[in-house]
Symmetry: D2
Subunit: 122 residues, 4 copies
Amino acid sequence: MTGPDPATDPLADLRDRLRRFAEERDWDQFHSPKNLAAALAVEAAELLEPFQWLTEEQSRALDPARLAAVRDELADVLLYLVRLADQLDVDLATAAREKIVKNAAKYPVATARGSSRKYDEL
Amino acid sequence: MTGPDPATDPLADLRDRLRRFAEERDWDQFHSPKNLAAALAVEAAELLEPFQWLTEEQSRALDPARLAAVRDELADVLLYLVRLADQLDVDLATAAREKIVKNAAKYPVATARGSSRKYDEL
Amino acid sequence: MTGPDPATDPLADLRDRLRRFAEERDWDQFHSPKNLAAALAVEAAELLEPFQWLTEEQSRALDPARLAAVRDELADVLLYLVRLADQLDVDLATAAREKIVKNAAKYPVATARGSSRKYDEL
Amino acid sequence: MTGPDPATDPLADLRDRLRRFAEERDWDQFHSPKNLAAALAVEAAELLEPFQWLTEEQSRALDPARLAAVRDELADVLLYLVRLADQLDVDLATAAREKIVKNAAKYPVATARGSSRKYDEL
């Protein structure tokens, strides 16, 4: 029995908490990957909303009230993401580390430096 | 000097990797919270796309090729989320744990059980 | 002086009304294509929200209160779409008719019939 | 038998074309409001994607190739919007005109002038 330790790994911890949360409420029936993917897209848009009319500069200096609201939206996105990955049996941390390696190959430092001429960067 | 340990905490590890990734490419200039929030919404929609015409049942049983593509999209969403939280100086794990506590108060087991009559659940 | 007649063409009529609306409020400064595209994505997600936990069957039979809310969201999407197209000097009706022709070539009746194996259909 | 005239009203014309398109392909089975709302959100995000790393100023001056791609995405959003409204039996043009009236009441010229302190404007 190995695997990430919920005591030190927040993604494993959140996964376990959300499992209990859904089980206690009998919500697994609603948590199909299709529905969770829709909910995640909705939450991501709610996270975009407070930024939509700001300049980029303003977005780097949110006032405390707006930052607190944004923090809650960031949390919502993570919760649905962890729940969806769990329903699909995907290890998020491993998938993300592998994606960074792919992205590094896709955007070599030499050519990508200072250029935004790509759309799915990071 | 305390804080999450990147050796055991994948969110701290990803945050550090993405900082280096952006720094090496001089991409901080593009990574305003506004832009990252837009990119996150775009990635979340790309994650929704493969599910849009499936039934819920089909979404619970993806074939391996589609699952592999979905896994990459899950990773992209996490990467932008971690990067955005870092730019806003938000601790994602703490924010998410606090949000679960809020949600538990909002959807008590007694009344929420088996009901989907809420829109921002989890 | 030709072009669509706002008296019979609702897209031309809405375009003109939104121009006046923005001008009266000095809002052109906020209506960059980038900002309008973000606002449109946010509205489209708000339109998705009431459907996210419904079954497809339930989504075909909304109760009157929910339908009224959905109707307002449909309107919001159209308003931002018309405004964005206007800022980009795109004739929406012509673009849409041309896109249907492209789609008809992409999804010939003979092969597409009864199959959802495409992602950007219509 | 009155109603908008497809010969002069592009929204009525597109609605009719999309009905035929779906009927010929037997696609009504996939076009539940839930699915169409998801598809619309996906298309709106595809429309946002080309703008995500641009400055607002750059977004006001797209090069011809990018503008052509954006034009196709604008069309896709309109097509799904018209189709969804049709499935819900909503008259888009009327809904949009009524929404402008609501918005005018919500954002009086006197107080809204030059201020972006609202999130669902237009």
